[in-house]
């Protein structure tokens, strides 16, 4: 009980890693999408654990409630056919090679970055930072604070993003719409 947060962190981390591996390894895209849903839900939990309750809720609402349903819709519309499934086994070797390469690169990168920052940052100031979730959850976790930021400091980006969404909606409709004239 002493380290309940750490335990929860490892639990969610485990679920996230596992489900993300599931996303890229499962041959059935529907299952992949469902793994992704699991990933998103646990990511939301992770956000909550780190103290961003608002983002956690938003994550579920946006990703799980909207984006992934869209994915599943599209998959069910077009791609769920047995002959389309990839044979993961035959690509296993390739996957492993790429994974190993990338892992090697990432390890090297991490090492280099940590060396880089160790030199840059005064270690006496506390290099090993920790996340204190509950101490400032009141400050940053509330929708109120976020909305103040959003409508004061980030008003222009907010407006721009609404424009982006509008364009996205119209673009999606235009792209996905069947060209009826052509079909006739």
């Amino acid at each position: 009980m002493e380290n309940i947060k750490e335990i929860l962190f490892f639990l969610f981390a485990f679920i996230m890693t596992g489900s993300s591996v599931g996303v890229i390894m499962h041959k059935n895209p529907v299952k992949s999408a469902l793994f992704l849903v699991v990933f998103f839900v646990s990511l939301a939990s992770m956000f909550g654990l780190l103290g961003s309750e608002f983002l956690a809720v938003l994550q579920v609402l946006v990703y799980v409630g909207a984006i992934m349903v869209l994915f599943l819709f599209v998959i069910m519309l077009i791609a769920v056919r047995d002959e389309n499934f990839e044979n993961i086994g035959s690509r296993f070797g390739k996957t492993m090679v790429v994974s190993l390469l990338i892992t090697a690169f990432l390890i090297q990168m991490t090492a280099l970055v940590s060396v880089h920052f160790k030199n840059k940052i005064d270690t006496s100031a506390g290099y090993e930072r920790t996340i204190d979730a509950s101490a400032n959850i009141k400050i940053t976790g509330h929708a109120e604070n976020i909305s103040f930021q959003l409508f004061e400091k980030y008003l222009l980006p907010f407006e721009v993003i609404s424009l982006v969404l509008l364009v996205g909606v119209i673009g999606a409709v235009v792209i996905a719409k069947k060209n009826r004239r052509k079909l006739e």
């Binding site: 002493e2 947060k5 981390a13 890693t17 993300s20 996303v23 890229i24 895209p29 992949s32 992704l36 990933f39 990511l43 992770m46 956000f47 654990l49 780190l50 103290g51 961003s52 983002l55 938003l58 994550q59 946006v62 990703y63 909207a66 984006i67 994915f71 599209v74 519309l77 077009i78 791609a79 389309n84 990839e86 690509r91 390739k94 790429v98 990338i102 892992t103 990432l106 930072r129 920790t130 996340i131 204190d132 979730a133 509950s134 400032n136 940053t140 976020i146 930021q149 980030y154 993003i161 982006v164 969404l165 364009v167 996205g168 909606v169 673009g171 999606a172 235009v174 792209i175 996905a176």
Partner: protein
């Protein structure tokens, strides 16, 4: 309530792990939708990093970034899936190794 702190390095490593899983997915899969989902994985790993740092520095900037990433991701998903549908309609497949119009 028991309060304990999570080291930032944990979050960093988790993020890296998920990000690289995303990269592997993008590089090895053939199904365009799965690739798309792998991209989402990468995006969200970065989101996690943003939240972690926002918490660490105790300000809202990181969370605002996540907010905007989510909004853009929503738009991107809508347009991307529309493109997938349109690709499927044109090529009758979603296997990107079979779509080689750009072959030199």
């Amino acid at each position: 309530m028991i309060i304990s702190e999570i080291p930032m390095s944990y979050v960093l490593i988790l993020t890296l792990l998920i990000f690289s899983i995303g990269i592997v997915g993008v590089l090895t899969r053939k199904n365009i939708i799965v690739i798309f989902m792998s991209v989402e994985l990468m995006l969200n790993s970065v989101n996690l990093l943003f939240v972690g740092y926002a918490r660490m520095w105790k300000n809202l900037e990181g969370e605002m970034a996540v907010f905007f990433v989510m909004a853009v991701a929503a738009a991107e998903a809508a347009v991307g899936l529309a493109l997938v549908i349109s690709i499927f309609r044109t090529f009758h497949t979603v296997d990107i190794t079979k779509i080689r119009e750009m072959k030199g």
